[in-house]
């Protein structure tokens, strides 16, 4: 049964917009909404602008992914990024949003929503559509994360199908469980265990990043490594990306966009906690970068640029769940651990699991997304409530609420099981039907020619570096 008091504030926004206007079930031009809430303009402006920043993260993902891969696949990577945002927006409009934020009563409501398809009917309402917009850019983010993990070998047609499945089904249903009044957040046993609130995830370490990262892990696993990535004895071979300039530009764009992602997730500028959220976001990312910089310096002898960029992103992912509920010093700690997670994660995939993740998507989004969920359970300091200044205030292990850490751990396990499990099913189904991987000859020649019949850089003399792969 749903404990109404604890339903995610986002849902409330939708409901309110519908309830305060009993005569008219919807308010497509906003006049009544404005009358009912004089703060609506500043909250709309805040939420939309933050949403625009999140949308811009698509450019960041495209730059990071293309920068860390080879020149012969660049057009394909840019196209995948164009396509997943476009297909994602349409899928989330048609189906995803309804599953995630639609209303449904009883048990069904704990699992998914059932109205609002195509934004038709009552959903043609300024508040509902505000929420749709902000959530749509999040959904597209989850989809685009996968792109990096499967880069340089996935068939473009198959990628499109996977991308639609993610934004239409896999992402929204899990999202419902956390943000739409579903069981992880609102089921009685979770609320009781958590001490007044169920599983939380402020801006989506789990909902967006870990989901994307673990689906990517499944994809990378089923695709197998790029040709030449591992020697016969399993040792990884470096396949350097074609332009660190693009990769770091992408990191900066993502960093910038993340200030829409995290602070914007209040959906309200009237929550002045937004300043603390912004500060926590920057501190965790800085700590992640500095940590990775020093670890790589210590381990490899020289500080590594692309890993440091991953360190920034890892810090950002890790703080995303807890950014509203922890204090600045805790953010620094969370970021430091995120930097370590990046290093260990990349090492694990390369040296132990032998899974080829060209851009580090699994470590950045998957492992650090999971860490972010736990970190919230540990460091929440009781200064802020559930998307509101009112109680119950959220506290974690260090502040005496071990139950909440348990709740978060459950949430993390469910997240992994759902994303990795459905990811395996999805990619396996595609593998044994339409196929998921381009032929070896196409992979060697590059997907730009094979999938799109184009060269990204026709005015430059292109070469592949000749690597030996073993230390001299």
């Amino acid at each position: 049964m749903v404990n109404l008091r604890h339903i995610h504030v986002m849902l409330i926004v939708v409901l309110l917009a519908m309830l305060v206007t009993p005569a008219l079930a919807q308010d497509p031009n906003g006049a009544e909404t404005l009358e009912g809430d004089p703060n609506a303009p500043v909250n709309f402006a805040w939420t939309l602008i933050c949403g625009f920043l999140v949308m811009f993260m698509q450019a960041g993902f495209a730059m990071v992914e293309s920068g860390l891969t080879r020149a012969k696949n660049t057009a394909n990577i840019m196209m995948k990024n164009l396509a997943d945002f476009s297909f994602g927006a349409l899928s989330y409009w048609a189906v995803g949003f309804a599953l995630m934020f639609g209303t449904a009563s009883g048990i069904t409501g704990l699992l998914f929503g059932t109205d609002g398809f195509f934004l038709l009917g009552d959903a043609y309402d300024v508040s509902t559509i505000e929420l749709w917009f902000f959530q749509m850019v999040f959904a597209a983010t989850a989809a685009t994360i996968v792109s990096g993990a499967v880069a340089e070998r996935v068939k473009f047609s198959t990628y499109l199908i996977a991308s639609v499945a993610i934004t239409a089904l896999i992402y929204p249903i899990y999202g419902h469980w956390l943000w739409g009044g579903g069981w992880l957040n609102a089921a009685d046993f979770m609320v009781n265990l958590g001490g007044g609130y169920g599983a939380l995830d402020f801006a989506g370490s789990g909902v967006v990043h870990a989901i994307g990262g673990f689906i990517g892990l499944a994809g990378a696993l089923l695709l197998g490594p790029r040709i030449g990535k591992f020697r016969k004895d399993g040792t990884p071979v470096a396949i350097p990306g074609h332009a660190l300039t693009f990769a770091v530009l992408g990191v900066f764009i993502l960093w910038f966009g993340w200030f829409g992602f995290n602070p914007g997730s209040t959906l309200a500028a009237t929550e002045l906690r937004i300043s603390v959220i912004a500060a926590n976001t920057v501190l965790a990312s800085a700590a992640g970068a500095v940590t990775t910089l020093f670890i790589t310096w210590w381990r490899f002898g020289k500080p590594d640029v692309s890993m440091t960029g991953n360190g920034v992103l890892g810090g950002l992912v890790a703080i995303t769940a807890s950014c509203a509920w922890v204090s600045p010093w805790a953010s620094v700690v969370i970021g430091i651990i995120a930097g370590i997670v990046i290093y260990v994660g990349v090492w694990l995939l390369d040296w132990v699991l032998h899974i080829d993740d060209p851009v580090g998507a699994v470590s950045v989004h998957g492992f650090n997304g999971a860490w972010g969920l736990l970190a919230l359970g540990i460091f929440a300091d009781g200064t802020y409530g559930v998307y509101t200044t009112e109680g119950p205030l959220v506290t974690g292990l260090l502040y005496g609420n071990a139950g909440f850490l348990a709740v978060q751990a459950i949430s993390m396990v469910v997240n992994f099981a759902w994303a990795f499990g459905l990811g395996l099913i999805l990619f396996a189904a595609l593998k044994y039907t339409v196929g998921i991987r381009v032929p070896p000859a196409e992979e060697m020649q590059g997907l730009d020619i094979g999938e799109h019949g184009v060269s990204t850089y026709p005015n430059f003399v292109i070469a592949e570096p000749v690597l030996d792969g073993e230390k001299a």
Binding site: P236, V237, A238, I239, P240, G241, T296, R299, F300, G301, K302, D304, S306, M307, Y343, V346, W347, D350, G360, A463, P465, V466, L467, D468, G469, E470, K471, A472
Partner: protein
Amino acid sequence: MKKIEAIIRTMKFESVKHALESAGFDSMTVTEVKGRGRQKGIVQQWRGAEYVVDLIPKTKIEVVVPDADVEKVIDIIATSAATGQIGDGKIFIAPLEDAIRVRTRERGDTAL
């Protein structure tokens, strides 16, 4: 007429060019190549994996000269390209049968 083909360190190119110039050998054709001789590769790293770029960027200079000038050019290049370290490069001497200046159709040594 011979073609002198020298594969030298990229960072020595400027001084070789100047040395040739000063001696009156202005003409040349230059190509960016990668090579390997006795010199070991450069160890680089990418996301933690070390690897050896075992073909090192080098610059190839081709100068075509009349037979009489061959030894002079060899000497100029060998002198100005040298650092004494492994990787200084090689000079190869190949026979040429003829040369034609496109603009004037002059042939032989006068075309150089």
